[in-house]
Structure formats: structure tokens, C-alpha cells
Symmetry: D2
Subunit: 306 residues, 4 copies
């Protein structure tokens, strides 16, 4: 190595170690969307990790999607776009109901579903029944955005199996909401998506005019055949009126689906929905309004056909 | 979806969200060893992040290599094997010196080089001169393993450019150690590897019989041509006796090199080294002993030839 | 290692080498959707690679999305869902036109846009003008699905800058289609999305009742602000009627946008669109029909507002 | 979007599609070195893929390491540094033998071990016995560098289980070489590393003064405990003289080990080895010489102790 002259500002003694390279994103969260497909987010930090009897829990801080709740290696909810999922799950059913006073959530331990429900002024009583106490405690402690909801006096939080709880309780509900993991064969929630469950457990617990709504898995042009179509077809055997709808959720790298079902007609127009949003919901929706629902509930050709 | 019966233990209501998959490693640290080569460690957590005037700093907790200090996206030091680097940098020079009382480290802000030096009973005074105060403070706060070294009364810690500091000080040293980033052209440390620097700044500051040693970059069968050979050849123009040696460091995914240089002969045998280790060093070495040095200083054919 | 007895079927001598592990996906295509977000597909093979004066070209065979055309490290088109992009780009404009006989494509070198256009029985003449001859030749040779289109006698293929070509030609067109790279500032196509380009180059080349349509970049709930909103607002300054619409494209990991513009009203209902599809288009659409367009052209609240 | 003027050279119409980004490495080979550690090479192409009754086979063209043979998702051999593995496996044993005329390879289907053996002028007969015919055929067809070896008249290629073949044959060998997959418990080669196999099958087939050598898995400062130490300790129970040695192989991201064993002393000095290399081996070694072996057979403190 010969002698060279470097400008003064470059002359410095560095730190212990070897090559100083250009700065790059070096920490990543990686999810297998499916076996041959990965989705990777640059990480700011790993905020909290925990484990329950049932599942592993992580709260990550990601660069593209903000704080992210990850359960068993699967992204559940990202700060930046969880409102799409939760507004879509809650508002169509509650707005279509003439006066939703009592609500039951199966699952929902994250607290965001409760948060959206509690924005409805009509709601008097909300049961949230999740089996995993550690997940609920984790979210209660760490998800600031749901703090108020977790402390709302209208919320009754129960740690139990949703099926057992629904069977035990004698009261009826205006809206029942399924905020559960997908019905993977052999998975923990499979039984909560069956025809007999809907027919003998859910439907009898709805008040006259009551509405059931459930998250229904991926609803993309290819992915909708996994569970979305099945849930829709199952609910059609149990309820007179069934409305599927979907929305693209960026952090899920897919379009997501929900299905709403009732024995009373679900027929609000975009304008009527907008009017009820104004009258009934506190604060401003970020995703959901009448036109959005018109689009969301008009499925594309390929999805509609199957 | 038809009706199915699942064993009771599988019936539960899950948490909010979608598919619950099998658990997998989902957070990773990724380093570009070179443009076409990546090295990725599963992450337990991101313990601390910081930034100095010169560099970005991260302390990660990795699954394969324990706690890892990362500067500007490059791994500096991993809990599990940093002893290979630091024992190799320090002990050959100090053991070959008859009585090493005063030592000067250029760089070394991590503190591990100081830690190894201070294990030598003969050492009376140790100057550690690093330009980056934030990195030094970061390591002082977070690297528990070096805590004692940072508080040893024999250590004098100076924040300055190593060249400027060496020029200013009038005293001479028994051993001078280069623990700096690699000499990348245009990089911050380039000038601290030149012939004129060795000849006019380093050598005049060595006592009679003094030894200079420097980390010398990758020394693998292909990678040694980057800087290892250059440093060796440069030092041969300045000192009478020059000894290159190398060791495989797992967390670096490469063999690493050091070069020791003096105007007095460096000729201890494996047995003499082992004897001095026993007499002079407190505690037990984990990597370095006489036979290890015999092997480390016998370079393989390809490296020797170039 | 002691002596052990293994069942006979396990006793075999393997092949040269070291550990035999479980089989996993080992080859991946990786795309940076944005700086902090990666999208990775398991690879079956790398079918062809090439380079033009302007760009690098790869034809990959991926497990999740089939054959994929990648230009400069960005996925252009994947076998499994390119029909969503190309049906959406072509059919709304051609169906809304009373009798689309002459069409001009700016870009479109892949051939898929031409393929969809040529399914319309009314089309008599199609100019496809792409600047990159090597990309066109690459696609002509390797994309079997567009083979017929490239050899259709109604197609005139021109290698030129689209702006220069439009300016030079005297004839007018019923539909002009922009199938160009996004208008990145300083990028090659920026100028082909400006108000003056639309006003002074595109619009004068449209016949009475003519329609212009362009791909308009990502149109997701966050990503639409990058270029989709800009293109919509620019076109509104030039044309009387402007219709934006969007669709989720799985292989792009995002919702994509298009904008259609004309000085004649664009007012077909879903039923009228379905009727014209039946009358005018050969073969069956896989994505596009009347209801799909109703949904696609009803933007969600967040996108609509900005 | 306003009107802007771009320099002429930037004005062009691009190709079909969306954003044109900067070019990056987009195809990667990824190997799990261990559960929490990945090693990724940028890919030029996937040259050939195949599958045998036992294993999956791929020949990749990688940017950092050239052509790479991958079996069941594990790198076997990379063009750029396979010579380190194969020279280390073959030459120490053959050079230490006074006159190695007959050689038996267990495994070795890749052909590179045979290639190095056949460079020894003394060799008259070489048996290569691999169980996997498809792998052998794959390598014969695709590994140009071993073409000559596969056609050398001294080579007899046998498709069989190495144990069965050794037991059947009556002749004895000067050197027997184990070039088999690591002894993973329950894996296909486990039984070929046991004490009884060495004692009752291998040793009886060695001529007077014969030498056995085997690849012995990772020999890094941490990884040597997996199999390297076991193989060494097992062989010490069977042979009088046992010499372990190791070398860093860049493409394996680890130091690799071999063990040589005999009932005759193995005592050549570096100079004697260099002399025999000159006298006996055709062509020039790239890795192996006397000093390299001195270093390779002097294990570092941590490895030596366990």
C-alpha cells in the first residue's frame, strides 16, 4: 500500500472492527404468506415478545407498516392499516341493524374490534370472549390505541371458549361478530365455522333482526377459494340473507373477506349508510363509507363465479 | 363446509386475525458480506440502537451468535466468538514482548481489546484512543463483558484521532495495537495503514524492542488479496520482522488476519508461548495458545504465495 | 461414536458430500416493492436473461405466479395474473367506444396489451410503438401466450419513441393506450404523463369520440398518492370526462390503477358493458365484466378523498 | 402533475409495465447452514435440476462461488473452492502412503475425488462406489471439470452400497477414502461411521501399511463437536495412528474436517510432503502443500481440547 494523501475530513481513526460499509436495512421480519411466497418488512425494533398456552406473541415495530402484532409467525394486525380490517368487520353489520344495543365478539382479543364497536353510540353492552388470556393481557398492556376500549364500562371481557360461552349464556344479542383465526382443517377454530355451529349455537342467540358477521379469510382472485367461498356457502344454508364483501389490506399482501348474514334483509344504500355513519358513530371513519361498501360488496367476476 | 367433530382439546376460539401457522423464525439480521453474498442470523431482539456523528450503532441479540455489535450494517463483534478476534489481536504481541508495560490502542472503542490487554499482569498503562465518543459510550453502557475493563484504573480513554494523538504525545510504548476499520480506499481509516504512517508516526513511538500489531482484514483463500496482503507487504518495508497470522471467525463467515511487526526478532516457540501464558495472563484463554499460534501463523499455500 | 443398529432400509451409503438436510425451497426471486418492503417468490428456474440498450430483462419461472417477466429487477407481468392488468387496461376504453377501429399503444412491448385489443372484432388497425427493440424481440420469442398477437396482420409494430411517433403520424385514432413505465421524476417516461403531452400530443390525435386510457401506477390505500392521484388530476385538466379505476393484482402485492379520459361521456352501465362484451370480444374474459367495473371504478373512501 | 422539461436524452417511451427501479441482485440461492443461520448467494442461473431415488439434485450458477452442486438443498461443492475439500481429502493419505496403487472411494459420485486421485502417477486401479446412479450420471454429464476423470481407464465405477461392495470384494486396497454424507443419526450414512464398520469392514480391506481417510464434517470452533470429534474418537479405537486436520472452505461458511487413520505411522514432514508432491502428482496443487498440512493438522486450542 503506497502513500496517499486524503482530505483532512476523511482522516480519522474508526472504531474497532472491520469494513465500514454503506448503511442498509439490516433487520427484517419475514412471513411466509404461503409456502412459496414471502413478505418481508424492514424492522425498527422488536418491542415485546411473549408466549401463551396456545400461541407465541410478538409486537414488532416495522418500517413499512408501523407496529405489528404477530402471533405464531403470522401478522395479525399492523398499526398503519388495521383500521381497514376492523372497520370492515364491525360497521356494515352494526349500521345495517336498526338499533344495535348488545354485541358479542367471538375472539377479538386484540381489542380493536371492541374499539370500533364502542364508537357506536347505540351500543349498551359488549361481550368479548377470547380463549387466550395471555394474548388479551399482552394487547391490553401494549396496544395503546385500544387502551380506552379495554377500559370502557360497556365492555365485559371473558376468557373462555366462545362456543361454550355462547351456549351457557341465556341472553340474546343484536349482533354477533366472529373475529377468529381462519378455519384451517385441524386448526383450533375449525369448529366455529361449521354449519351446525352457525345453526345451533349462533343463530339461536340472535335477537329478532339480529345480524351475524365474520371475518372470512383471504378473498383475492386466487385465494378466495381457500375459505372465503366455503364460509359464504355455509352461511347461505343457515341464513336468508348473506352478503360477502372484501377489501385489499396492504400489510396482508392480499384482499381480505368478510361475510354478513341475517334472516332480515340487508339492503341499505350507500347514501343511507353514509347518513347512519354520521348519526350513530363517534369520530370519523378512516376507511368505511357508503360508496366503499358498494365497491367492497360487488365482487369481481372470478370471485363471484366461484 | 360440512360438519366435523374435532377432539375437545382442539376446540377453542382463537385470537383476532387470520391463519395460525406453524411457528418459524420470523425476525432476521442480514448482512451483505460482499455484493453477491449474504449472511443472515435469526434475531431474538434488537437491544439498543444509536447513531454517532460518524456511524450507526446497533446491539442485537441473535440466536446463532448471541449479542452482536453492528456498526453501519456490518457485524463488528459477536458475543460467542469475539474472543477469537481479540485474543488473536492482543496476546501474540504482548507475549512476544519481554515485558509489556505501556500499550497504545488505535481505535478499540468496543472495549474488548482493552479487556484482553488488561489481563496481562505486566501492563501498567493503557491508552485507548478512539475518535467516536458515542460508540465508546454505547459500548461502555451496554457491553457487560467489558465493564470491568472500562473501569480499570490502568486504562486512559481518549476521544481523538489516533494519528493526531500519537503525534502529540511524547511518551513511547511497548506495544501499539491497530484495532481500526479496514483500509477501504476513501474510507475513514485508509491513512492509518500507509507506509508513511507506519514509518513516521507508529515506529518512532515504539520503545526499543517494541511491537506493532494490527488487525488486517479478511485472510481467506480468496479474500486475503483485498487488504491482508497489502498490509503485510507495507509493514515489511518498515519493520525487520513481520509475522502474519489468521483464524477462522464463524460470525464473520471468513478467516480473519492480523500482522505483527517489530525490529526485534519474534521467535517464541509454541512451548515458550504456553509458558508465558501461564505466567503472565490472568484467567484462562479460550482460543489462544502456543499450538494455535503455530497453526495460525503457518498460512496455507494460496495465501502464502500472494 | 458407538455401535448402533439401524433398520435395514436406512442403511445405505450416500453420495459425496456433507449433511443431507430436509428439502426446502432454496432458490428465490426477491423484489423490493419499496425501500422497506420485499416480496419473494420461490423459483423453479431462470428461463432467459437478456439486456437491451435501456434495460435488463429476465424471464423467470416462479412457483407462486408462474412465468414472470422482470425488467430491471421489477416484475412486469406474471403468467398467472397478467390478465387482470391487461384486461383492465384495454377493455373499459374499447367497450365504451362505439366502434373502436384504430388503436395506438404507447409502449406495450410485452405484447399482452395488443393481444387483448386484437380480441375486439371491431379493431382494424393497431399501432404498437415501443422504444426498446430488444425487449420486444425477447417477448416475441419467449412469451408463447402472445405469439398469435405478434403475428396478427392488423398489428403494426414500430420501434420508436412514442411521443416522436405520435407527432409524426398524421392519422387519428379511436383509442390511445398508455402502457408505459410509471412517471418517476427523472425517469424515462416522465414526460409522457405531463399535461402538455396529453393536451398537445395525445388529444389532437384522437378521433371525435376518441378515448385515452393509461396505466396509472399503484392505487392502494397508501400507494395511490405516488402517481395515481397525479395522473387523474392532470387528465382532468385536459379532458371533460375522466374515470379512474383500480384492481388488486396479487403478483404486484398491491392494488393497481388505470385512468380513462375522453371529451365524450363514459357512461355505460354494468349491463350494457356485459352486452358489448358478448357482442364484440372473441373468447371469454377472465377478469373483466360489468359488475367488476362497477366495483373497480368505485374507489374506497381514502383513495376517493385524495 | 405540472409541466416539466427534461433533457432530451431522458425522453423516451419505456416498456410495458410499472416502475423501473435501479438494477439489483434479484435471484438468490439460500441455504440454512443451521436452524438460525442462512447463507445466500446471488444466482446467475439454474443450470440443471434433477431427482434421484434418494435425493434432489441442482446445478446452479452462482455469482460468488461459480457453479454449485446442490443436493437436497445443501451445497455439496462449488466450482471456486471445491479443490480445497478434494485436495485435502485425497492428497495427505496418498502422499503418506509409500506407493498407493489401489484405491477405493466410498461415495464420491461427484467425480472430483476420483479426479484428484488419478493425478497420482502411482495409482493403477481406482474403485468408486456410489449408491446413487442418477447423481453420478448428473455429474458425469454436467461437471466438465471431472470429465477426464470419469473416462480414465483406471477408474471402475460401481453403483452399490459401499458396505455391501466392500464386504463382497476380496481384494485389498492401499487407501480407502470415505467421501460420504455426514453421519446424521437416522441418516443414510450413519452406519458407515461406526466403530464396528471401521473395525470389521474397512480395516480388513486395507493392505499392509494401508491408510483410511474420511471427510469428517464441520470442524469449526463450535461446530466440530457435531461429528468431527466423534469420528476422530471412534477411529482412535480402531487404528494405532489417527491424524485429524481441517481447513476453512469459504462456500461452506465453515472450517471443514478430515481424519486419516492407519496402523503404520503417519509422520511425513512438510518438506517430505513437498518432495513427494513434486515427484508423484501430475499438475500443480492449488491448495495443498507441506506447510498447509502442518497448519491444517495443528488444531486450535478449543478444537484440540474436545
Amino acid at each position: 500500500m503506497g502513500d496517499i494523501s486524503l482530505p483532512n475530513e476523511l482522516i480519522s481513526n474508526g472504531n474497532n472492527g472491520h469494513a465500514v460499509g454503506v448503511q442498509r436495512k439490516s433487520c427484517w421480519y419475514e412471513e411466509e404468506i404461503e409456502e412459496n411466497l414471502r413478505w418481508c418488512f424492514a424492522l425498527k425494533s422488536i418491542l415485546h415478545t411473549g408466549a401463551s398456552q396456545y400461541q407465541d406473541i410478538q409486537l414488532l415495530d416495522t418500517k413499512p407498516f408501523g407496529k405489528a402484532l404477530v402471533i405464531d409467525g403470522k401478522l395479525q394486525s399492523a398499526e398503519i392499516d388495521e383500521f381497514i380490517y376492523h372497520e370492515s368487520l364491525v360497521h356494515p353489520a352494526l349500521l345495517n341493524h336498526p338499533n344495535p344495543k348488545t354485541i358479542f365478539i367471538m375472539g377479538g382479543g386484540e381489542g380493536s374490534t371492541a374499539r370500533e364497536i364502542l364508537r357506536h353510540k347505540a351500543v349498551e353492552k359488549l361481550i368479548m370472549c377470547d380463549i387466550d388470556e395471555e394474548v388479551v393481557d399482552f394487547c391490553k398492556s401494549h396496544l395503546v390505541v385500544n387502551k380506552e376500549a379495554f377500559h370502557d364500562p360497556r365492555l365485559e371481557l371473558i376468557i373462555n371458549d366462545a362456543r361454550a360461552e355462547l351456549e351457557t349464556r341465556e341472553e340474546l344479542y343484536d349482533v354477533i361478530i366472529g373475529d377468529l383465526a381462519d378455519p384451517i382443517e385441524g386448526g383450533p377454530c375449525y369448529q366455529l365455522y361449521t354449519k351446525s355451529f352457525y345453526e345451533f349455537i349462533v343463530k339461536p342467540k340472535l335477537n329478532q333482526g339480529g345480524i351475524f358477521v365474520t371475518q372470512a379469510g383471504p378473498a383475492g382472485i386466487f385465494s378466495h377459494t381457500e375459505v372465503f367461498s366455503c364460509i359464504y356457502n355455509t352461511l347461505r344454508q343457515v341464513f336468508k340473507y348473506v352478503v360477502p364483501y372484501s377489501a385489499h389490506i396492504p400489510s396482508y399482501a392480499d384482499t381480505w373477506g368478510w361475510v354478513m348474514a341475517s334472516d332480515s334483509p340487508i339492503i341499505l344504500t350507500a347514501d343511507e349508510l353514509d347518513l347512519r355513519i354520521k348519526q350513530r358513530i363517534e369520530g370519523e371513519n378512516r376507511y368505511f363509507d357508503g360508496k366503499t361498501f358498494t365497491s367492497a360488496s360487488t365482487l369481481s367476476k372470478a370471485v363471484r363465479k366461484s
